[in-house]
């Protein structure tokens, strides 16, 4: 965690609030994945989880001062699209 003066702690608190709001937004997306009548609605929720996960990892990298988390964000961005491509292609080959 960051240490230092008053402005740094305000920054830490603001980043923690931002992280929680982002988690809340991902929770709303998961709710759509739970409801979602068609399988495509669930794919779009996965899309949201990929983008939101990258944003969360970027904020966490600043908050915890771990630069390796940028690489994790890069891999997550790649894996989200690979998952969606695999799922949609298996759907279209099915019929």
């Amino acid at each position: 965690m960051m240490s230092g003066g008053d402005s740094t702690s305000i920054l830490t608190i603001a980043l923690l609030i931002a992280l929680n709001l982002l988690l809340f937004s991902l929770l709303i997306g998961l709710f759509r994945a739970w409801l979602g009548p068609s399988i495509e609605d669930r794919f779009s929720a996965i899309l949201l989880l990929g983008t939101g996960g990258v944003a969360m990892l970027l904020i966490l990298a600043i908050l915890l001062q771990i630069t390796a988390l940028y690489d994790v964000a890069l891999v997550l961005a790649l894996l989200a699209v690979v998952g969606t491509v695999a799922l949609t292609q298996s759907e279209s080959n099915h019929d």
């Binding site: 402005s7 305000i10 920054l11 603001a14 980043l15 931002a18 709001l21 982002l22 809340f24 937004s25 991902l26 709303i28 997306g29 709710f31 759509r32 068609s38 495509e40 609605d41 794919f43 779009s44 929720a45 899309l47 949201l48 990929g50 983008t51 939101g52 990258v54 944003a55 970027l58 904020i59 990298a61 600043i62 630069t67 940028y70 690489d71 964000a73 890069l74 961005a77 790649l78 989200a80 699209v81 969606t84 491509v85 949609t88 292609q89 759907e91 279209s92 019929d95």
Partner: protein, 95 residues
């Protein structure tokens, strides 16, 4: 000063993320949900990445964040296109 600007950018990005998630939950059909999700989330991620770039002092990490942003934009466009095409194909088969 730069911290305040970064917090402003991150929180305006969160506004876009939350509106994208609410759009994913509330809009009536799959295509309008994808429309809300894919665009709002990418603007949100751009603003969050801008805020993180302001806070990150190391240049190579800044470049990495920009690369992540472009990758997520390409990934999101491709995945949205695939999901929409798979849904359209399914609709056509039903008719």
């Amino acid at each position: 000063m730069i911290d305040a600007l970064a917090i402003l950018a991150i929180f305006s990005g969160l506004f876009f993320f939350l509106s994208g998630s609410i759009g994913l939950l509330r809009l009536p059909d799959l295509f309008s949900r994808l429309h809300a999700l894919a665009k709002a989330d990418n603007v949100g991620l751009a603003l969050v990445a801008l805020g993180v770039i302001m806070l990150e002092p190391v240049l190579i990490n800044d470049i990495k964040i920009v690369i992540i942003w472009f990758l997520v934009m390409a990934a999101s466009a491709i995945s949205s296109h695939l999901v929409a095409r798979s849904a359209l194909r399914k609709n056509r088969d039903d008719d």
